[in-house]
Amino acid sequence: RASTVTVFAAASLTDAMTAIAQSFAAATGDRLRLSFAASSTLARQIAAGAPADLYISANRRWMSWLAWRTLLAPDSRHDLLTNDLVLIAPLDSPLGSFDMTAKTDLAGLLGDRDYIAVGDPDHVPAGIYAKQALESLGQWKTIEPHLARADNVRAALALVERGEASLGIVYKTDAAIARDIKVLASFPRDSHSPIAYPVALIRGHETPASIQCLTWLLGDEAGAIFSRYGFERPATDPKRGDRKK
């Protein structure tokens, strides 16, 4: 008898998870019920008793926030995916691609009245990573006044697509599919803490179906779908315990 597993997933996973749900249903006969919203929103809903079985966050903060409230099933938390941060510009930008180092004068690439679109560094995961990267590259102080803080990565991307912002910092996955933009440079992986999409079972929801779903998500079949959308698995083998956090 088919069962339904409810997955709360960060909004940036919308297309990937929708594809995953189809394959999962085909493979197991079970259905995935998906809810996409900001990671923070989902976390708060879970804390308020929303009946989610699995939670996939776009960053570690909100996963940890739930963990501290002992709302996660013990030992069920894994880093599911990773991503990269890239610098983008509108297609008609005069800038060409380059290598990002500590010497790059990002502010110099911007005009006086120009903006660089990012997720809000106060709460949007991509923005938080961007801030770390800019800090470690020593650019934060000069760039900060030029930040256009969007409330999610897609909104930041839209600002660049529309030519409002002459630069933008987004995930590689978003940049890969977007039109009207070009990737100027990737941020060095060590310029920010590793980008991770952690997944976990919600405490009290450790049903066979949801455990099966978690396992499936960590498996190769799912990995192939994720990579189709530009996501990568974290560096270490998911089968080994050290991806556990």
């Binding site: 409810t6 709360f8 909004a11 940036s12 919308t14 297309d15 929708t18 019920r33 998906l34 809810s35 996409f36 919203a37 929103t41 989902l42 708060r44 809903q45 308020a48 008793g49 929303a50 009946p51 999610n152 897609r154 991307l157 978003d174 890969a176 599919i177 977007a178 039109r179």
Partner: protein, 230 residues
Amino acid sequence: MIALTPAESEALLLSLRISAVAVVCALPFAILTAMLLAQTRFAGGILLDALVHLPLILPPVAMGYLLLVVFGVHGPLGAWLLKTLNIRLVFSWTGAALASAIVSFPFQVRAIRLALEQIDLKLYHAAATLGAGPLGRLFSLTLPLALPGIIAGAITAFVASLGEFGAIITFVSNVPGETRTLPLAIYTAIQTPGGELAAARLAALSIALGLAGLLSAEFVMRRIRQRARA
């Protein structure tokens, strides 16, 4: 237009249901509140007024969060509802309707109050001497005379419900078939790279639904006005 996808028609019907239920259920309360507010003598008036407008003053996300805190299964009202009536609002379309109702409540109250305040008190005097008590006056004068305001309020609330996003997604999340209304579907589509076309289709659906609501309200209003002039 190309036929609707199942997801689209699901979102459309859900939006319609949630908005309609929200408006209809809130209406009696809106009328009551407007009547209380229209009586200037009522001392707590300004507090009630502020309470009614709260969903407008606060950003929808904050409103949704507040609802989550109050009506979540661990919240004071939510726990009580779950225990005594076994009603769980979070994550269900009824919760979305509640959020819509609360967020669009001020529109209803404002319009009805405005209409109530325009009613000539002398008509009440005439009705009273003809033997109509407070309840009789309510049904024979107040409600029919405030009807344009009631309709205007209801339609604004309906239309606003159709567009309500922040409070719903924060309160009841974004579950297809249960709480994914048109605006949430639009949001979801926008989150998908290349989802602009899907979003535009959904927006067109929204507009069509809103237009249908506006049109029917206009139609009813014209009939009322014509009748009053005949």
